[in-house]
């Protein structure tokens, strides 16, 4: 079996492109190289855009950073906002946050998990699962879901709305708010705001439970497909909390091997570089992280819901814990590597987020108490959280003049880079080899990518370059500028 990453002889092969990959966030394309017999020789998911955050953050005052880095991603801005704030907490010496800051940030984060997971399942991925991977492309979208299953579509929209409202009351606005500051938060959540959210809770919990029921039914009704489609074994990485519990906001890093054996546990997030490295490849702006002890060939891993739900030992809320147990039983206690099982794990987490929000809304620390903490200034901080799509690492160095001198970001989708590439190679092997690549078949490749809920906006923060020449011409056909890039 070839690896399919790089064709031995690319010359003369036919190139098929899926461009852009749709119903995901951000900009990516897949290229497939086939020979005359339609045998697949190469499959790659390319991340094609760059934006340069890691460089242009340098020289900015540190307190701007949590607001700037949100613009990495409009789908999970809260994740970047909080990961940056957590890193900068350490810079301003706030090793322990006030109870208010801890609760407000957690509430914001759980609202984010809930809205992002709802968006992904109901608005983006569900058409494939409800109508079939090869169903008519004109209907294979949220409009088709609204027409065929209006009540389900409505629940999805309203679940997302609830998560967005949680973000609004904690961060000031739904997209790109400003709630967290280095050392804490900038406002309380009022009792009136809490009451307003509480009024919707029972409905939200009911819909969240129904969501898990729906996806487990879909999975179990089509067991062979869901268990085998694109399945590629890998290591798993996530934060875990005390007693190995599922933890989304703050914890230590744990990794398991493909069979579930723990590779490392309790790793202080400040030490991430002792365990994780990133390989650069010529054909993608997104790097390829791996567990450094195992090397790039064997050390790649998955992050996100499927990794988290299987990496943890317990979930601290009862409804989601019962669903975790049902998930484990469905796989006889073994680790599943099926990409389509991401959806099931994701909806378990959505339910968990709803339960956590319900619990937090009763906490009066949201509405009273000091907002920020300080302590001895430090030069460096690492902030790690579990964003909706997986482990998110922000690392900054700040000079005594308050300006940032170094920024390193390893975003959730980047961790899944090799995994997504390996999974689409599995799909290509199983389904494309020897067949004419129709639109329907090519959507199978996208279904496998979508399972990871990749956020390619997040993943395009790095800067890249091409040895090419391009003319920028205005609407009247006049040359505005000629751009030239040489190979460095």
């Amino acid at each position: 079996m070839t690896t399919l990453e790089t064709a031995a002889k690319p010359e003369g092969l036919r190139r098929i492109a899926i461009d852009p990959v749709s119903r995901v966030e951000g900009h990516g394309k897949v290229t497939i190289l086939l020979d005359d017999q339609r045998k697949v020789h190469q499959v790659r998911l390319h991340i094609v855009e760059f934006r340069g955050f890691e460089r242009f953050i340098q020289g900015r005052p540190y307190w701007e950073v949590p607001v700037m880095v949100q613009r990495l991603c409009g789908i999970c801005p809260v994740s970047h906002h909080l990961a940056a704030a957590k890193a900068l907490d350490l810079v301003v010496g706030a090793k322990t946050l006030t109870p208010t800051a801890d609760r407000v940030r957690r509430l914001m984060h759980y609202g984010q998990i809930l809205q992002s997971h709802a968006l992904h399942f109901f608005h983006l991925a569900s058409p494939d699962l409800l109508f079939g991977f090869g169903s008519a492309p004109a209907k294979r979208n949220v409009v088709g879901v609204a027409a065929a299953q209006p009540e389900l579509a409505r629940q999805g929209v309203l679940l997302r709305k609830f998560g967005q409202e949680v973000i609004r009351v904690t961060a000031g606005k739904r997209v790109h708010g400003t709630g967290a500051v280095p050392g804490g938060v900038n406002k309380h959540v009022t009792r009136a705001e809490r009451d307003e959210l509480k009024a919707a809770l029972s409905q939200v919990l009911e819909w969240a439970r129904a969501g898990v029921q729906l996806i487990s039914r879909l999975h179990l009704a089509n067991r062979h497909l869901y268990d085998t489609f694109g399945t590629a074994k890998s290591n798993l990485l996530s934060l875990v909390g005390a007693r190995g519990a599922l933890e989304l906001y703050d914890g230590t890093l744990r990794a398991r091997d493909p069979d579930g054996k723990i590779l490392f546990d309790g790793l202080d997030c400040q030490q991430y570089r002792s365990r994780i490295a990133e390989e650069v490849k010529s054909w993608s702006y997104m790097k390829f992280p791996y567990l450094s002890a195992l090397g790039p060939e064997a050390g790649w891993y998955k992050v996100g819901p499927l990794a988290r739900v299987q990496n943890c030992d317990v979930i601290t809320t009862p409804l989601a814990e019962a669903e975790r147990a049902a998930f484990r039983d469905a796989f006889d206690g073994a680790i599943t590597h099926a990409p389509l099982a991401y959806h099931w794990a994701r909806l378990i987490e959505l339910l968990h987020a709803a339960e956590l929000i319900a619990r937090l809304l009763d906490d009066d620390a949201l509405s009273e108490g000091p907002l920020t903490a300080t302590g001895p200034r430090r030069a460096e901080g690492v902030g790690v959280i579990e964003a909706p799509r997986g482990t998110l690492i922000h690392h900054y160095k700040v000079a005594p003049d308050d300006l940032v001198t170094m920024c390193n970001l390893i975003v959730s989708t980047t961790h899944n880079n090799t995994a997504m590439n390996e999974v689409i190679r599995e799909v290509a092997r199983a389904e494309l080899d020897g067949r004419e690549p129709t639109e329907a078949l090519l959507n199978h490749v996208e279904v496998a990518i979508r399972a990871f809920d990749p956020c390619l906006s997040c993943a395009t923060h790095a800067l890249g370059q091409m040895p090419l020449l391009v003319d920028l011409v205005d609407a009247q056909g006049l040359l505005v500028k000629q751009l030239r890039r040489d190979s460095p």
């Binding site: 394309k29 094609v48 460089r55 801005p77 492309p137």
Partner: protein
């Protein structure tokens, strides 16, 4: 505000994110349950929500994000060609936005920072495969390259601003954003 009366023929609408963060698309979805009213009035063409990879002839195009590579310029031209009315949505489409922070920096030095000296980076090299589109040396707003019919400001524009824009255009009137819907953060 209520949705305009259902018309016989649905308007075709295409959307895309260029060098943006999808936050404008998220804010559009923040019209919440009004989405279902909207879908009674419009038909989605190319959009991150559909699997249509290219833009057909459309009445309205909404573009978020500025131009940071040749591919962005290509998609922008496709939208201008196909859409009767084209709207630059959000800070990045209108001014380049936060990604334009790199305009004062040297691209080569940025690349070296990220790919050659990143603290967790191994196998250091700068990606240069022909499948990767050419980055522009500066991030441009959309109106540097094509004619734009409307600008919807905000980072992102609010859901109500989107609603006013779209429902006004469907109803055939000029969108009127009051003071409260014009915001720049």
């Amino acid at each position: 505000m209520t949705a305009p009366a259902k018309s016989a023929k649905k308007l075709k609408v295409a959307t895309a994110s260029l060098a943006g963060c999808f936050g404008c698309h998220m804010s559009l979805l923040d019209i919440d349950e009004r989405l279902f009213d909207l879908l009674e009035l419009v038909e989605l063409d190319r959009s991150p929500l559909t699997d249509l990879k290219h833009c057909g002839p459309c009445d309205l195009g909404l573009l978020e994000g500025g131009l940071c590579n040749a591919e962005n310029v290509h998609v922008l031209r496709e939208f201008r060609r196909q859409c009767k009315t084209l709207v630059a949505v959000g800070a990045c489409a209108i001014t380049g936005g936060l990604p334009a922070q790199r305009n004062s920096l040297d691209v080569r030095e940025c690349l070296q920072t990220v790919y050659l000296t990143g603290p967790s980076t191994t196998h250091a090299r700068i990606p240069n495969d022909p499948e990767l589109p050419l980055p522009l040396d500066r991030v441009h707003p959309l109106h540097d390259v094509v004619r734009i019919d409307y600008f919807l400001p905000g980072c992102p524009p609010s859901a109500d601003a989107f609603w006013e824009l779209i429902t006004a255009l469907i109803a055939g009137r000029t969108p009127a954003l009051g003071h409260d819907r014009l915001r720049y953060d």
